[in-house]
Amino acid sequence: MSTSHADDPATGTTIIDGEVHTGESREDLLEYLPDDVRSDEEDGYAFAPEQFGPIPWDGWDRTAGGRISWNNYSVPEAEAFDETREQFGIDTVVFSPGPAFRISLIPDHRTRVAYMRAYNDLVVDRFARGDGTYYAKMIGLPEHPEETAAEIERVGDEDGIVGLFVTDVGPTQPLGHRRHDPLFEAAEAAGLPIVLHSTTGLPPSFPAAGMNPKNFLEYHTLSHPLAKMWHATSIIVRGVPERFDVDFGFWEAGFSWIQLLANRMDREYIERPNEAPELTKLPSEYLSEFYYGTQPLEEPRDPEHLQTIIDMNELNDQLVYTTDYPHMDFDAPMAVTDHEGLREEQKRKMLGENAARLFGL
């Protein structure tokens, strides 16, 4: 990632970045696989793209024909982000999986679970320092709730592990489904918030299946918010927040979608509350208690509309600034610090206070 020439960012405000993607290569992940699996992985995959192995390459050009550039592997360990972090004025980072967030798309189940464990060992070893600067989310697989629960028990208490990351495009059932209860139970016991994050890979599940996008513009516009709405609706309607004391974070879909869901769901619920008997408040009130990653910060024609959306949906204490570095739609801190439409208090909460509460920093 090329570095900024911009002036020094805001000083005096603690900036916590809720997401920098780790830059693990295929070779890095192989190191953490058990011997029997590693042997098959090293010798297998004739003709597969070298850096992918079992993770499907989806064929999308995310660079707009080379007009946007970045390096997916630019942060192979926490300290590799030091220079960029200091340049951006970021104080603390909560890492998310990088290339490994697509392990949920690995078709072989045994391999998929093995890579989940390998990534978690890697992130504990190389990223989750717990030193005031570098923290990380472990990864879970909603399609394997029992194995994920075991993983949470295994690594959830490690220094620096402050959240559970799940890839939300790929699950065959929305997260409110009871099959995911072991995952919620384990996250609650470990005190880990659950962060949902989409992928623009093409798994045979909602919302990818059947969408038939013409191009990446169509797909990327819809994939993240549709997945979030699908999961958020089921989490609320099926009473997950009432049954489990777990915080949810919805990353990388911005926050304009919340208003649609809040407004529509409240009316729907009032017309048939018998279908969501566990709720003790309106759906919109649950939405106002979830957390949301800000990136990619929406860019309405009037920047002040963003302030209005935040206020209307009572999100001032719920938004977490994320860079999403090094991805192609990342947000440098000046996207928030220099924003013409946000109040200073909104910026301050977004830049650090809310993340500190969510992740217990």
């Binding site: 090329s2 020439h5 911009a6 007009r67 946007i68 550039s69 192609m328 440098a332 000046m334």
Partner: protein, 107 residues
């Protein structure tokens, strides 16, 4: 050229430092500029993308425009205008005299 015109021009680099493949980055009046050469014409813009601060000198140049490598924002090299009207990159007049690239200070 009048004396006043000459005084407001400042040499920023050698013409050889600016190629189509590799724009130059220069300091000018406290600002980093990106100097581009396209089909024998020279352009100078504030190197800091007005969107989020990306390095315009590293952007793809095509059809008289530069694309910021961070988010692909497209700026006309001559006017500095963003093609979708969201912002403008500040432009500076460039004069090439022999081997010297000069930029005129804005008034």
């Amino acid at each position: 050229m009048s004396d006043t015109d000459a005084e407001s021009l400042e040499r920023v680099c050698d013409a050889a430092d600016v190629t189509e493949e590799s724009p130059a980055v220069v300091e000018f009046d406290g600002t980093k500029l990106a100097v581009f050469a396209v089909d024998g014409e020279y352009y100078a813009l504030d190197a800091v993308c007005p969107h989020q601060g990306g390095p315009l000198e590293e952007g793809k140049v095509e059809d008289g425009c530069v694309y910021c490598p961070w988010h692909g924002w497209q700026f006309d090299l001559e006017s500095g205008d963003h093609v979708h009207g969201k912002a403008s990159a500040t432009t500076y007049e460039v004069v090439v005299e022999g081997d010297d690239v000069l930029v005129r200070a804005s008034t």
